[in-house]
């Protein structure tokens, strides 16, 4: 038995080393990452006095503006408003996307019924549909903006879920069948775990698109949220204050995608190996 144990340990070491090569960041990597940001900000700050104040302001002005918007409460109000739209739209996209994705991945009829519509809507740049949404949902509060976020976010989730369900390993389905597995367990133990990484990858793509949808909706439909904050400060040439919501949206994106990536590692640890 000792012979095999040695074999396994060697195998494990191989897996560990292949995993850490690029996937895990080393301290040195972090130094480079933080370093480039600091250097760029430093140059921007030092060169700041030479800039046309109407076009660009140094980072220190943006930081000051950040605290100014925080003090007068504008930032919190806009952020809460935008979050409401983002979360509302994203939840709708997630529920509908996964439901339609699963159904169309499983049943030919649903696939044939939904595919032409999905393909058509996905091919049209989502922005082009925003005016339609604005008209359709006019004067119903946040609805048009939530609908815009949902429209932007749904397709990557839907299409990835569909692919995930369709790409379930046939051999593993047969294994499950060979062990007399019930339909319910087939879903919970085979189809769902196998589709999960696809779904999460779709969710990760959807986050970026949902943020775009959120800002665009606030540009075009109603005068609220972080998007409106950007437009209104741009209109009065307060470039420093305009940058504050931009940075907040960027931070939202980075944080959300990071947490999904973390979740992927937790939900599908076997995918971290290079194969």
């Amino acid at each position: 038995m000792t012979l095999q144990r040695v074999g396994v340990e060697v195998e494990e070491a191989r897996v560990r080393s292949s995993r850490s090569r690029w996937r895990r960041l080393r301290p040195g990597d972090w130094a480079v990452r933080v370093g480039t940001v600091v250097v760029l900000l430093g140059i921007w700050q030092l060169y700041g006095p030479n800039l046309n104040r109407l076009i660009l302001r140094p980072p220190s002005d943006i930081v000051a503006a950040f605290f100014e918007l925080l003090r007068n409460g504008e930032l919190q109000t806009a952020f809460a408003q935008s979050m409401k739209e983002f979360v509302g739209g994203f939840v709708i996209a997630l529920v509908l996307g996964v439901a339609i994705g699963v159904a169309s991945g499983r049943w030919r009829f649903v696939y044939n019924a939904s595919d032409p519509i999905v393909s058509a809507l996905y091919s049209v740049p989502s922005v082009a549909l925003v005016p339609l949404i604005a008209v359709a949902f006019r004067s119903i509060g946040d609805a048009p903006r939530i609908a815009t976020v949902a429209l932007f976010a749904i397709f990557p989730i839907l299409i990835n879920t569909q692919q995930g369900v369709r790409n379930v390993d046939r051999q593993l389905l047969e294994v499950a069948r060979a062990f007399n597995t019930s339909e319910r367990k087939m879903w919970s133990d085979v189809i769902v775990p196998s589709a999960m990484p696809y779904v999460l990858a779709g969710v990760r793509l959807a986050i970026g698109r949902a943020l775009i949808g959120m800002i665009i909706a606030e540009f075009f439909v109603g005068l609220v949220g972080l998007g409106y904050l950007i437009i209104s400060y741009e209109n009065v040439f307060r470039i420093d204050a305009m940058f504050v919501p931009v940075i907040v949206v960027a931070a939202m994106g980075v944080l959300l995608m990071g947490s999904i990536q973390w979740l992927e590692g937790r939900v599908a640890p076997w995918l971290k190996t290079d194969r």
Binding site: V8, L172, E174, V175, A178, N180, K185, M196, W270, R275
Partner: protein, 255 residues
């Protein structure tokens, strides 16, 4: 002791479009014997095994287990796959439990059984590993444990060691002989390795290439308990191997 036939294949025919995989095949698997099915690659051995478990339907003839026609997988029959068939998202313990869970036993009983069979195949201590963390040999030990844990009285083995390196394969062949010696059960073992068929089998069924027919049924008169080394050292081994070789060779010429 009278010899009972557990699996009876009568006139089994399978076609895929224009290709006839096997044609009017007759064979019987006896109680507690290891029947090795040996044949050229692509001769339909695997399809036949899958049909024995009701995973593919026949185009003619019947397969019956204990007198009842096979239509879908049964609980007293378990299968081990060439591709291992482990679920990558399940740990070794969960993979081994997969079949047992479907038998409707209490949670505690399932856990006890899983632990027992993990120990039997030498995977104790690896319960919480994912398949990707194991070598091929260890993965197939888990595949074997999953099948054995359902305590089947018929074991269907689909070239289980076919994708392993020679050394690992021999170690696992010995393990299988040891497990068989401890608890003999009916086993159908598909292989394209003559040595493996002789080492493990009580009888070898040599198949022809497509459409597959039974070329010859050979009794392996090497006494148990066996190890791979003891079989190879046995005076009958060379004769049996040469005989099987000749039978397979004539297939190659026909192709």
């Amino acid at each position: 002791m009278t010899v009972t036939d557990r699996i009876i294949v009568e006139g089994a025919t399978k076609r895929y479009a224009a290709v006839t995989v096997f044609d009017r095949l007759d064979l019987a698997v006896r109680e507690r014997e290891t029947l090795c099915i040996l044949g050229p690659s692509g001769c339909g051995k695997t399809t036949l095994l899958r049909a024995m478990h009701g995973l593919v339907s026949l185009d003619g003839g019947t397969i019956a287990i204990d007198g009842a026609k096979v239509a879908s997988p049964r609980k007293n029959v378990a299968m081990v796959f060439q591709h291992f068939g482990l679920f990558p998202w399940k740990r070794v313990g969960e993979n081994v439990a997969f079949g047992v869970e479907n038998l409707g036993m209490a949670r505690g009983e399932v856990a006890a059984r899983v632990a027992r069979y993990i120990e039997l195949v030498g995977l104790k201590g690896f319960e919480d590993h994912y398949p990707y963390q194991l070598s091929g040999g260890m993965q197939q030990r888990a595949g074997l444990a999953r099948a054995l844990a359902t305590e089947p009285d018929i074991l269907l083995m689909d070239e289980p060691f076919g994708s392993l390196d020679a050394q690992t394969r021999e170690i696992l062949q010995d393990e299988l002989l040891r497990i068989y010696a401890a608890q003999p059960r009916t086993m159908v073992f598909i292989t394209h390795s003559i040595e493996e068929a002789i080492a493990l089998g009580d009888r070898i069924l040599v198949m022809t290439s497509r459409p597959a027919r039974v070329r010859e049924l050979i009794a392996i008169d090497i006494p148990r308990p066996r190890t791979v080394a003891s079989v190879i050292a046995h005076p009958r081994f060379i004769e049996l191997r040469d005989h099987c070789w000749r039978l397979l060779r004539e297939q190659q010429v026909m192709v």
